[in-house]
Amino acid sequence: MISFMLNGKAVELDVDPSMPLMWVLRDELGMTGTKYGCGIAQCGACTVHMDGQPIRSCVMPISAVSGKKVKTIEGLSEDGSHPVQKAWHQHNVPQCGYCQSGQIMSATALLEQNSNPSDEDIDNFMQGNICRCGTYPRIKEAIKTAANLSLAKNVGGDA
């Protein structure tokens, strides 16, 4: 039995301890907001927060999640009102949308660590998240907008 906190709720389940968190979320718990893109920590589509840190859930065995706090895109806000989500909307960031859960989770983590990132900070932090559709210019702008929204509202994160 493995237990952890998922978006503020306790979860307990009996699965192969080597199964990555991503497949546990998607297949066992039916939380498909976290996406599969590569399975080898190359694309960032599966990004979630574990104890406040962004991780690639496709390479995180569920055994290592035991006792941790996990936040997924579904736990970011009740209604899409997180500053990052709002900024994404404002800049019409998504094309196909498939990478965007991961992009948003990485961007949120970045802003939690650095409330006013420079272009270079954004490049460095976000380069693990691929967007095959090519929404990078808008992601960058949206992160800056979100930074302003967050500063104004002082929205922090608690994993």
């Binding site: 094309q95 196909c96 990478c99 691929i130 095959r132 559709c133 090519g134």
Partner: protein, 747 residues
């Protein structure tokens, strides 16, 4: 079962109409509506195939094309709602099931708006006219005294109004008006067309509540992962079913039925592992230990193959278009310039690997798939199961990117076969490795150009040759040279003013599945032609912009047919969509002016330009790079597009941004290599695509135009590679003729 993307109900699509089946009929016809809805739902009243009105005053509009990031689930309803005078906030978008009555649903070839703009306006106008008629009858006033606005019909004199929802039942009983009787808005009255409207799926995108093909979940569903033949045509000799079955979570294994050749859209041979979750299925695959009989294609090696193409391409080939006598011009030339350009195989690598879910029950099949092509999915599944296609229902989910990969229905056929075999719902999950290794690849290619020059640096003759394995090989198994359809993509339609022109092809046969990738053969043709124009500018000491304008020549309509080439023009008539050199020069001059690409740069920096017409739209790109210490940095990209009438400028802009980045990915790093018949790459670490830190500043300029709408999803990509390599030359003096760039410089 989870709440999937809302699809049109089967009842609604079966209800049908007297419309003749098949592609383009709908483009000029309104389906005959059968007033058979009496006794059905009291909530929803159908006005035509695409539009129904609910009694709560909301309006349902069908999007029959697949959403893969281009914004079609927003722009199709935008057109209908505008012409219908519906309030945008009250529009509900329904995703169309596979249904020939809609016309073609094959969402590729940059043709959703190009082919359906008029039809969608007709659908909106029909619905509006019926609602207006219903109101006029209700008030007993002349039709001319009423008008629709914002989901109400108003009476001009009295100021009375009735909502669409109130009128819906009466309107639905009316005869469909004849197309000729419809009136259309003048463009200055548009409220939605031409406006930057956010995606109807935006909230789902940002909250992760989207339903992609990979996300489908059905009660009691098995997850399948298939170990497929590494070489096209390879067969399974044996495998270890027992070892795979021992993996916790694995339910069963099944050898996929051997498929006939040519490969077409058949699933590849292989062994499926079915499990209670994806992870277990993937682990089971590792234990299969398949022994393959590899077959003839295992002798294919892409590097030696390309060397052979390069050897042949410098020799005279088979003529496909000819003007004057380019060979005599060459003999008489004061000097000549020649160059060979090559590109490797490429693969789509959409962010979401293919996935399909199927249920087979009581002789019927239902599919949920991230497909660009629901109708061909329906046909191919029906064929594979040996049932009538009316027994196959295809639900289209959102697509996590497509780029052409998902217009091949092989993955849905796999799901259908496995669902029938197991008697359970089955989701086939393609891994990234499957996607990279078992794709339908953009062809490896070689191009050769020879220009003849006189003393005054005029181009007096032009010879161009191309060689690449054809997409048709995938379907015939025997085609061994480029076909007209592919040569119509930026080769046989060369828009230059030349007295002496020879366009030729060389043979090349297929060994791996060749398919269409975003902008298809335009990718290599525009790279080669666009690079060669720049080389000519350098050779003659002319500025690139001058050389381009000189070669394109006078304002005119180019007619490749007059020079013996059966040009396809993307399936559209030349009278409506000519090759217009004025528009071509216009986008080029616009991008140069806006970007400053004709200005001098700092040491180690340079600009490159290229212009190309494809999918009946015109795109010019200007790229600025810096080259230092063997590393290229892309600083800026500017593109100008003339796509005629634009429905949603923000989505056109985002497609241009995406096309620049797609083009940069392939030009900088894109390479699939094949060794002993098998693809060597497997994931994003060895098939890299552009990342945030490599992404330049991107600007887009949209030419304002009332011309009929052209393509948007693809035309941005072709000019990228040449503009990039031209920029690298002007920054560093290094001419790159063999892509990708990372073979020559760090990126």
């Amino acid at each position: 079962m989870k709440n999937l993307l809302e699809n049109v109900s089967r009842r609604k699509f079966l209800k049908g109409s007297g419309l003749a089946a098949g592609g383009l009929v709908l483009a000029s016809t309104i389906p005959a509506w059968s007033p058979a809805w009496a006794g059905q739902s009291k909530q929803t009243h159908d006005l035509n195939l695409f539009v129904s009105v609910n009694t709560d005053n909301t309006v349902n509009i069908v999007c029959h094309r697949s959403e893969m990031g281009q914004g079609i689930r927003t722009s199709i309803p935008q057109i209908v709602a505008d012409e219908m005078c519906a309030n945008w906030e009250s529009v509900i978008v329904l995703q169309g099931l596979a249904n020939e009555e809609y016309g073609s649903q094959n969402t590729d070839g940059s043709r959703s708006i190009r082919r359906f703009y008029t039809t969608m306006r007709q659908m909106g106008a029909t619905a509006r006219t019926m609602l207006e008629s219903a109101a006029a009858t209700f008030w007993r006033v002349p039709l001319s005294s009423v008008y629709a606005e914002d989901s109400f019909v108003h009476h001009k004199d009295s100021g009375k109004k009735l909502s669409f929802g109130y009128l819906a039942a009466n309107a639905a009983e009316l005869e469909l008006p004849a197309v000729e009787s419809l009136s259309f808005k003048s463009p200055d009255k548009f409220k939605l067309i031409g406006k930057e409207i956010s995606s109807v799926d935006m909230h789902k995108f940002v909250t992760g509540s989207t339903e992609f093909g990979q996300d489908v979940r059905l009660e009691g569903m098995l997850y399948a992962s298939i170990e497929r033949s590494p070489v096209v045509g390879a067969k399974v000799k044996s495998f270890d079913a027992e070892a795979a079955s021992k993996i916790s979570g694995v339910v069963s294994t099944w050898q996929m039925p051997d498929q006939p050749t040519p490969v077409v859209f058949h699933p590849l041979n292989g062994v499926a592992v079915l499990a209670t979750n994806t992870w277990a299925a993937l682990q089971g695959r590792k234990a299969l230990n398949i022994d393959w009989e590899l077959g003839a294609n295992s002798s294919h090696n892409s590097s030696t193959y390309l060397e052979e193409l390069k050897r042949n391409i410098v020799t005279k080939g088979k003529s496909i278009r000819n003007a004057g006598d380019a060979y005599t011009a060459l003999e008489n030339a004061s000097r000549s310039l020649n160059a060979t350009y090559t590109m490797p195989y490429l693969v789509h690598a959409p962010m979401e690997p293919p996935a399909a879910t199927a249920v087979v029950k009581d002789g019927e099949c239902e599919i949920w798939a991230c497909t660009q092509t629901p109708q061909s999915t329906q046909n191919n599944v029906a064929q594979a199961l040996g049932i009538d296609k009316s027994k196959v229902k295809v639900n289209v989910t959102l697509l996590g990117g497509g780029f052409g990969r998902k217009s091949k229905p092989d993955f849905s056929v796999e799901a259908a076969l496995l669902a029938r075999q197991t008697g359970k719902p089955v989701k086939v999950v393609w891994s990234r490795e499957d996607d990279i290794r078992q794709g339908y690849y953009h062809a490896v290619s070689a191009q050769h150009f020879i220009a003849s020059l006189d003393e005054r640096n005029n181009v007096t003759g032009w010879i161009q040759r191309t060689a690449f394995p054809s997409i048709s090989w995938t379907f015939s198994g025997v085609t061994d040279e480029p076909q007209v359809g592919e040569l119509s993509l930026g080769f046989g339609d060369l828009p230059f003013e030349l007295d002496n022109l020879a366009c030729e092809t060389h043979k090349a046969t297929g060994h791996i599945r060749i398919g269409w990738v975003r902008s298809v053969s335009n990718i290599h043709h525009a790279f080669a032609a666009g690079s060669f124009v720049d080389e000519l500018a350098v050779e003659t000491n002319t500025s690139p912009i001058q050389m381009w304008n000189k070669l394109i020549g006078e304002d005119r309509h180019v007619d490749p047919k007059a020079e013996g080439f059966e040009y396809g023009n993307y399936g559209d008539p030349m009278e409506v969509f000519p090759i217009d050199t004025k528009r071509l020069k216009n986008v080029l001059n616009l991008v140069v002016e806006k970007s400053g690409a004709n200005k001098t740069t700092n040491e180690g920096e340079g600009w490159g330009i290229c212009v190309h017409r494809s999918f009946v739209s015109y795109v010019a790109v200007a790229t600025k790079v810096k080259v230092a210490d063997g590393k290229v940095t892309v600083l800026e990209m500017h593109s100008a597009i003339d796509a005629g009438t634009v429905v949603n400028p923000d989505r056109v802009k985002s497609q241009q941004e995406g096309s620049m980045i797609f083009g940069l990915s392939l030009a900088l790093m894109g390479e699939i290599s094949v060794k002993d018949g098998a693809v060597e790459q497997s994931n994003y670490h060895d098939y890299p695509v552009l990342r945030m830190h490599q992404c330049p500043k991107i600007e887009t300029y949209i030419v304002s135009s009332t011309a009929p709408p052209g393509g948007v999803g693809e035309p941005g990509t072709p000019p990228v590679a040449a503009s990039l390599c031209n920029a690298i030359y002007h920054a560093s003096g290094q001419r790159i003729r063999e892509l990708p760039v990372n073979k020559h410089l760090r990126v």
